[in-house]
Subunit: 199 residues, 2 copies
């Protein structure tokens, strides 16, 4: 029962398809990828894909859902350990860049494919992404309460600036062909975000 023709369980096979899809989407882009490509990468027949996913779009959704879920839950756990708001922001930056470094294909799909259609962005926006921005905002507001951050700045705007800076680091890193280490950029971003560039 709950058996597949070779020795793998259904969950495992699903994961395998997702991994294959991430690889294929990353290298050719969502719209240029054929379901047959994904099947070939996962070493299964074309039709098998449809035993695990409703269709091509469902695969892309699943990739985001799974990644974002992990990302956020692990992030929250990490942050809970930390005392000051500044440390939290620094940790968010580090985690953000670390994760993206760790799975470069997933990073490409996130940076590049996520933005491929407004329809998709809206759907996604209202789910994981907004939640992510919220976590940043909460950390910022906590800092304001503790009087380590300026009171007269809008937390919403500041969280967008912070996220935008990190996001741009990742995009540039991907476009550069990943020739340098991404993680150390977390410090740079923090330095500028905390104290500005004015002498």
């Amino acid at each position: 029962m709950a058996r597949t023709i070779n020795g793998k369980g259904a969950v495992e096979r699903r994961e395998e398809i997702l991994r294959a899809a991430i690889k294929v989407f990353a290298s050719k882009g969502y719209f240029n990828s054929k379901v047959a490509d994904i099947a070939a990468q996962a070493k299964i027949a074309d039709g098998t894909v449809y035993l695990y996913f409703k269709g091509k779009e469902h695969i892309l959704h699943s990739i985001f859902d799974r990644a974002m879920e992990r990302f956020i839950s692990e992030g929250k756990e990490e942050l809970a350990k930390l005392g000051s708001a500044e440390k939290k922001l620094r940790r968010i930056a580090e985690l953000h860049l670390e994760r993206m470094s760790a799975d470069k294909n997933l990073a490409i799909v996130f940076q590049v494919q996520l933005r491929a259609s407004i329809k998709f962005m809206r759907e996604f926006s209202s789910a994981g992404f907004a939640q992510y921005l919220e976590i940043i905002r909460e950390a910022f507001e906590e800092g304001q309460k503790m009087k380590v951050f300026k009171k007269d700045l809008s937390p919403v705007v500041c969280s967008k600036i912070f996220f935008g800076a990190l996001d741009e680091m990742v995009t540039n890193w991907i476009l550069s062909g990943r020739k340098y280490e991404l993680r150390p950029m977390a410090d740079e971003v923090m330095k500028v975000f905390m104290h500005g560039v004015a002498a």
Copy 2:
């Protein structure tokens, strides 16, 4: 000579197709847009599109090339008038957000479609986009020379942070359905970028 069946010149018709394409791409995304949609929007026959462009992809390229060219040349002109590096950065921020506000369809194509494929981003990256980041970097370096910006910060990283912050403002604005004014965000970004968030 150089006449079209109605009274329009060839250049004008080309522009018309580009405008139509921007509208269509913005509303459905590049890959979901049919050449027939663009032709319909421009009120010409499908085949006519091919008298002015090699194909669908060529249209997208032309949109970026034209927009980026205008954007950069007008930007450079504006900046030449300004004395201090801080003023230049502020003006860049204002122009960036103004332009995006002014043509919302173009903004959507830029924010969303530009990132739709790595292939495309790479091509674009090496052209207009890199040049844009360079302009920001130069302004920053000028500020460092004049001792109004900190010497120990990397100009490359700082220009990315600055651009990333602006870019995120635009993306959020588009996703929000453009319910608020984008331009005032330029001040917010400058405030944080110059002096940081630390109390």
